[in-house]
């Protein structure tokens, strides 16, 4: 019964669209970044991506630099509640208790938490805590204070422990936030370490997903995904739904 629910949830997830565009997904040893202005919905997207992994039975460590643990737990509950309301996704809530056993939340205070220290704790969790994470979600890392060497450390870590890592990057400050090729100015110098970059930008009433850097291509490309403004779930844009 629950197996069937899970299969259905995985099959119907709009994240399959993302996977196709990334030729199967982010991949072990690689770093992906989700960048947008503050308040557009990065955390919701990351939680939705984590939820998708959890439903597939893949352990996730959710690293947060800002939110309180109980807020993060509430994010997950909300995402599952919203999924549960969707057509064909009924039952998401029923499996919630079971699948969150594959999730660990690790919270670090921004100031004082140096990359080496964070990675040391993560390694302790994976190795000593015997937690076989495959995906790392890193929310709220301050990219203005993050250098290429920090990202390289994350990358080495990801390769060594066989993980993929999704970051969120909050863009703030003066316009323009993006350069001519759609790369956030803030991330310009870090691009060598970033394998996949997705930006979230308002397009009229909608928040659209743009693949700015991905496997084999650097040209910005609309992903055919949007963020539902009420449920904060990732959804297919109507155009792609028609084309299926």
């Amino acid at each position: 019964m629950t197996l069937k629910i899970k299969e259905e949830l995985v099959k119907r997830s709009p994240l399959r669209v993302l996977e196709r565009s990334l030729a199967g997904g982010l991949g072990k040893g690689r770093l992906g970044v989700l960048a947008s202005r503050k308040g557009v919905g990065k955390t919701a997207c990351l939680v939705h991506m984590a939820a998708d992994k959890l439903i597939q039975g893949k352990p996730v460590i959710h690293v947060s630099y800002s939110s309180r643990v109980d807020y993060i737990i509430t994010w997950y509950e909300d995402i599952f509640k919203e999924m549960d309301k969707k057509r064909g996704m009924k039952g998401a809530l029923a499996i919630y208790d079971e699948i969150v056993r594959n999730r660990v939340i690790m919270n670090f205070k921004q100031d004082g938490a140096r990359t080496e220290q964070v990675l040391r704790s993560l390694e302790a969790m994976i190795v000593h805590g015997n937690f076989p994470a495959e995906t790392l979600i890193v929310d709220g890392l301050d990219f203005a204070r993050t250098g290429t060497e920090d990202l390289e450390r994350f990358k080495e870590f990801a390769a060594r422990l066989g993980l993929e890592i999704w970051f969120s990057a909050s863009l703030k400050g003066e316009e323009p936030l993006f350069d001519g090729s759609g790369v956030p100015v803030l991330l310009g110098e870090l691009m060598s370490a970033i394998d996949v970059l997705i930006t979230l930008r308002h397009q009229g009433q909608q928040v659209q997903f743009n693949l700015v850097k991905g496997p084999g291509r650097r040209v910005p490309k609309a992903l055919g995904l949007r963020l539902d403004p009420t449920t904060l779930l990732i959804a297919r844009t109507p155009a792609t739904r028609r084309s299926r």
Binding site: I72, V104, M106, N107, F108, E123, H128, F131
Partner: protein, 696 residues
């Protein structure tokens, strides 16, 4: 409201272990002239703090039973309930919170908000208790009261406002700045008993006025008058106090005071603050259930002339007989008054009425509305409500959690057996989470409680106070069994060979029940089972679920639906249907794919981040699930869910893994399914036990 009530405060002092709560209480007693010398908790002078009236507490440096004590400060009468810090004794904390009007939350200025602080905060929230914070241990290395204030805001979600700032910190702690009066306070004399007021040191003036700005901003939210005065540039002390008081009582503001109880700094201002900002009993709205009005909620009036309503919240069997701690919510309590226990409807006459001070007491003739006092020689249970004749109110019952751990104890000889029985009788009366029974199969005495330490403390007390020497078995977890899925049953009980026969047939189904332990429904139509025998079936099933067939523990979450059956006009009887039901359960329950459940605890481990790896490992080895880890600089906290059966001896393990620098707390979370391998082991052990008992 009488002046006596207006000049009264009922406060609790709650804290994380080792935040210095008992030391603080000790200082309060000293400055209020209740004691003449200060004793430290881990008494080097061999006396120990006055509030810890039991020897054992003195030795362990923890406070177990809440002793109430009354002090006078600035013409106000303050009842203080000293509450225990360890989670195993949470029932004590909950009981005291129920009768308090407000609390002082003590935090360590180094540790800040810790796991137990969060538990206590949740309890304060549950009972809607207004409180202020006292950041203690400013003399310790690493003290940072500003950080602690931020933690109260961020981690507990309160609107915390500093009312004072330190002059110097750690070993250089000299005194405090009062941000309301804008004066510097120093504590002179050998015991800090002389408070010297001076101007604020010039180098602190800027920071002090910045913090005062924040205080005024926060307080203005609760008083238009103050807002106006601030705009005009002349806020008075009285206006600020009134505003802070309003915010505090509404639980919308948490004033934060600071000091070092150990170094005798900041205690007198804290006592002033209790008087200034915490509510008197009449300012809190209490409700009772009106038994005459079908259980409707009714507001109590804090009027001394109204009919009396009082709650017995703690019993103690002392050398002079049974002492009942009681809180008056409405009316007053006079010697000679006649009261009715609304649960038993028994009448009592108020005999000796005393005010308590830790170990000593003083006789009084009357307790005004809101007061907390003790009665002598009243037979009742903890949680009973007493009312004037004609009034039938019940204060809502206290929440009593089910015990999760049990231990078999055997007295070493006949003398010890008598003394053990006496001790158990007293302990169970005092503490509803401590229970005892005799196992009918092994004829052993079993004690049950909320954790290892909880039981350990009672065994020690048995030895010390009652000289009852007992041997204790291995602690055992309170397992449960549960139905796997719905299963139909059809069982006929027949015994019709000679003499009076027995005949009963029951048909229906068993199904898992999401909420609750047991439910029985009958859908039998057309008198297939005579109506008189339906309760017999219920009784039979109820008896059967008390012992599951897997490992002999109670089966929970069972719904029994009786749909059909059969009877014999002569041979059917109450007992025949009971037997049929019992046997039906025993025969069909195993066919439902039953499971063994075990108590899963919510465990929090706190300590230096360098040991996080060891902590993760120790939890993972114990079949635990790590929920989260929070790292704040060098300090980290791990929250996990771990089966209780794996937690025995964890404190020793943790100590050695972390060089004694980490500590943990745990409380019952839920019942969870036992993994197959463990379940098999448990079933084997059960069979083994049955075989052994069978041989005997």
């Amino acid at each position: 409201m009488s002046t006596a009530t207006a000049r009264m405060r009922n406060i609790g002092i709650s804290a994380h272990i080792d935040s210095g709560k008992t030391t603080l209480t000790e200082r309060i007693l000293f400055y209020c002239k209740k004691i003449h010398r200060i004793h430290e908790v881990k008494g080097k002078d061999g006396v120990g703090a006055t509030m810890d009236s039991m020897d054992l507490e003195r030795e362990r440096g923890i406070t177990i039973a809440s002793a109430t004590t009354n002090v006078s400060w600035a013409d106000h009468s303050i009842n203080i309930i000293d509450t225990p810090g360890h989670v195993d004794f949470t029932i004590e904390v909950e009981r005291s919170l129920r009768v308090l009007d407000s609390a002082v939350l003590v935090l360590c200025s180094v540790g800040g908000v810790q796991s137990q602080t969060i538990t206590v905060d949740r309890q304060l929230r549950r009972y809607n208790v207004p409180f202020m914070a006292f950041v203690n241990k400013l003399d310790r290395i690493g003290a940072n009261p500003l950080k602690v204030r931020d933690q109260i805001t961020e981690k507990l979600g309160h609107n915390a406002v500093l009312m004072q700032m330190p002059i110097g910190l750690e070993t250089g702690l000299k005194g405090l700045v009062d941000l309301v009066a804008m004066k510097a306070l120093y504590f002179d004399g050998p015991d800090g008993e002389i408070v010297r007021t001076e101007e604020i040191p010039a180098e602190l003036a800027a920071e002090a006025s910045a913090l005062r700005e924040k205080l005024l901003d926060a307080a203005s939210m609760f008083s238009d008058e103050l807002t106006e005065a601030v705009l005009e540039g002349r806020p008075t002390e009285a206006l600020i106090r009134a505003a802070v008081r309003r915010g505090t009582i509404a639980r919308k503001l948490v004033p934060v005071f600071i000091g070092s109880a150990y170094k005798n700094k900041g205690i007198q201002p804290l006592l002033d603050a209790v008087v200034h900002y915490l509510p008197n009993p009449a300012e809190i709205h209490y409700q009772a259930v009106d038994l005459d009005a079908g259980g409707a909620e009714r507001a109590l009036t804090p009027d001394a002339e109204a009919k009396t309503c009082a709650l017995a919240f703690k019993l103690e069997d002392g050398p002079y007989g049974q002492l009942t701690y009681i809180r008056v919510y409405q009316g007053s309590l006079r010697r000679g008054d006649e009261l009715v226990n609304t649960r038993t409807e028994q009448k009592i006459r108020v005999g000796r009425l005393v005010r308590m001070h830790a170990d000593a007491m003083s006789d009084i003739d009357e307790a005004p509305c809101g007061d907390i006092v003790a009665l002598f020689g009243v037979e009742c249970a903890s949680g009973d409500t007493f009312c004037s004749p004609g009034l039938h109110l019940a204060m809502s019952a206290l929440y009593v959690p089910e015990p999760v751990i049990s231990l078999a104890i055997t007295p070493v000889d006949k003398n010890a057996a008598d003394r053990m029985a006496k001790a158990l009788g007293r302990f169970t009366k005092e503490d509803p989470t401590f229970r005892t029974y005799v196992d009918p199969e092994s004829s052993q005495t079993i004690v049950q409680g909320m954790g290892e330490l909880h039981l350990e403390v009672y065994l020690e007390r048995m030895k010390r106070e009652y000289r009852a020497e007992v041997r204790a078995g291995r602690p055992e977890v309170a397992y449960r069994e549960a139905l796997g899925r719905r299963v139909d049953f059809d069982y006929t009980h027949k015994k019709q060979t000679g003499g009076a026969g027995q005949y009963a047939r029951v048909i229906g189904y068993l199904e898992p029940l999401a909420k609750g332990d047991y439910e029985f429904a009958s859908e039998v139509k057309g008198g297939r089972i005579p109506r008189d025998f339906i309760p017999s079936c219920d009784k039979g099933f109820k008896a059967a679920v008390r012992k599951g067939t897997l490992i002999g523990f109670p089966v929970i979450g069972v719904r029994v639906v009786l749909t059909d059956g059969n009877y014999h006009p002569v041979d059917s009887s109450d007992i025949a249907f009971q037997t049929a039901a019992q046997n039906a359960f025993r025969q069909f329950y195993p066919k439902s794919g039953p499971q063994i459940l075990e108590p899963v605890m919510k465990v929090s481990v706190e300590g230096p981040s360098e040991f996080a790896g060891n902590v993760f490992g120790s939890i993972s080895q114990r079949r635990g699930m790590i929920v989260s880890s929070v790292e704040d600089g060098t300090f980290s906290r791990v929250d996990a869910e771990v089966p209780l059966s794996e937690m025995f001896g964890y404190s020793t393990v943790l100590r050695s893994l972390t060089q004694g620098k980490a500590e943990f707390t745990m409380e019952f979370l839920r019942y969870g399914r036992v993994p197959a391998a463990v379940a098999e082991l448990l079933m084997e052990q059960h069979l083994e036990r049955q075989r052994r008992d069978g041989r005997k």
